[in-house]
Amino acid sequence: MSQPSAFQMPKPVLAIEGLTVSFDGFKAVDDLNLYIDRNEVRVVIGPNGAGKTTVLDLICGKTKATAGSIQFESRELTKMREFDIVRAGVGRKFQNPSIYENLTVFENLEMSYPKGRKVFGALFFKRTAEVIARVEQIAAEIMLTDNLYLQADLLSHGQKQWLEIGMLLMQDPALLMLDEPVAGMSVNERMQTAELLKRISKGRSVLVIEHDMEFVKSIAHKVTVLHQGKVLAEGSMEAVQSNPKVIEVYLGH
């Protein structure tokens, strides 16, 4: 599979340029450049503390950048509020499954339905046939059709991860960001998740942080290696794995 470079493509979905954030002088992300194309599945790897999660935090607005720009479909995300970034089409899954434990799977998914997001919209929100159909469709996608009316805290760890992915899918984001989606999953669940990612990456870009190299291999179009807040290497999994610098800081350990 050959990947056209960013220059030949009309425009990347996400263009990060010169992104820097420092915490009390410590640069967690340092002059980072990263481009993600339409329909691309990109995996970011790197040793602990490389700044992977911080990059996601910066994109979704949880952390404010010290310098640099994040362009998403020609909109500058660094100036936008978190919920506006979500509404613009960026979905983000957290490292630990973050779902509403006291609600049912159905209600969890319904909460992410992109209607009734304002105060009075939510007050008069109605569960129409359209909403139900959408929830059922997503539930089928994430393999939770049988658990639709189960309270979410009764799901297995892996199912909770899928549920959170499903909640993001409800928003139909153009960019889906997943922070360690297969952490704590069985081998079988990992395979199913890889299949899920392949299905849902049609028509949208996906940015994944992951440590599990088998999983990375099975999903990544392109891999970016972060080290000390900078891009150390970028390219296909094979190219990255044979890169001596990468072996030095990461795979070699």
């Binding site: 915490f23 009390d24 410590f26 967690a28 911080t54």
Partner: protein, 305 residues
């Protein structure tokens, strides 16, 4: 040129006035800064621990007068030490019986400690009566010091100031230079990890809380030199004290000092221009406004979450 020196004297005294308010606020806030800043516990009964110290001083003063008048000039030092230990011991008990069970629910701690403060206030009333009492001050704390003829600085104010400096220094040493302080700060930053490296976090919590209450007790002893003590003496200061701690940026000792200083000076400066109650309204409102602009407080560090 006479008016100028007179004005200077008034300014100096007003400034000193502010310093006295600052000392009481700071002594109260120090204990709270330890409890709230380090442990994140909202202790609404903190004022009552001050009252414990004040009543302890009163009791020691009465006993001295009755049984050991020769001890009169020195009783105050004993009272300070006793205030610290009695308030600390009751704090230790409160942590053991109540607060340790509520660490997961900070807002509930607030309500439970409010309940504790009601019980304590009523206990004071039952034991000491509703009327305000005062400790007999030793000779050397009375009167004033006159560096020039126009300036009149009360000795009790100077004493409280000295005590404040001493307490602040000791707390600083304990928190930042002792092994115990290291354990406290480690527990604050990462409870699980601290436990893993062999710190008894439960014991650390209990001691931290007791220390904070003990410091409030000392504040109470100091309080008796400038005012009389009633069952609700401490609760009058609780909101101001919380604002001092929050305004200073909860976990910074330096912030607490700076914020107590600015709030106290603002208060006494404004009292120069308007009534005391309006000065309070303006000071508190200003603090809240600044907090809205800088919710993390005056002094705080940006951390990677």
């Amino acid at each position: 040129m006479e008016w100028l020196s007179e004005f200077g004297a008034i300014a100096a005294m007003q400034g000193f006035n502010g310093l006295s308010v600052f000392c009481v606020l700071l002594l109260m806030a120090l204990g709270l800064a330890i409890i709230f800043g380090q442990m994140g516990v909202i202790n609404m009964a903190h004022g009552e621990f001050l009252t414990i110290g004040a009543y302890t001083t009163y009791v020691v003063s009465v006993l001295t007068e009755q049984y050991a008048p020769f001890f009169g000039p020195y009783y105050f030092f004993l009272a300070i030490v006793l205030s610290f230990f009695i308030a600390g011991a009751i704090g230790w008990l409160a942590e053991w019986a109540m607060i340790s069970k509520l660490y997961q629910r900070p807002l509930d701690t607030l309500l439970a400690t409010w309940g504790l403060s009601l019980v304590m206030q009523q206990a004071f009333r039952s034991i000491f009566g509703a009327r305000e009492v005062s400790a007999t001050l030793p000779e050397w704390l009375m009167g004033s010091w006159n560096p020039t003829e126009a300036i009149d600085i009360p000795r009790n104010g100077l004493f409280v100031m000295g005590l404040t400096v001493l307490m602040t220094g000791m707390i600083f040493l304990m928190l930042y230079r002792s092994r115990w302080g290291l354990q406290v700060r480690a527990t604050v930053q990462n409870r699980v990890m601290s436990r893993a490296v062999g710190i008894n976090t439960k014991k650390v919590d209990r001691m931290t809380f007791a220390l904070g209450c003990g410091v409030a007790g000392v504040a109470g002893a100091a309080f008796t030199t400038i005012g009389s003590t009633g069952p609700t003496a401490g609760s009058l200061y609780i909101v101001d004290t919380f604002l001092v701690v929050v305004f200073g940026g909860a976990s910074s000792l330096l912030g607490t000092i700076a914020s107590a200083f600015s709030i106290a000076q603002a208060q006494s400066l404004m009292e120069f221009f308007m009534s005391g109650s309006m000065a309070k309204v303006f000071t508190l409102s200003a603090v809240i406004l600044i907090l809205m602009l800088r919710p993390q407080g005056l002094f705080s560090i940006k951390v990677r979450k």
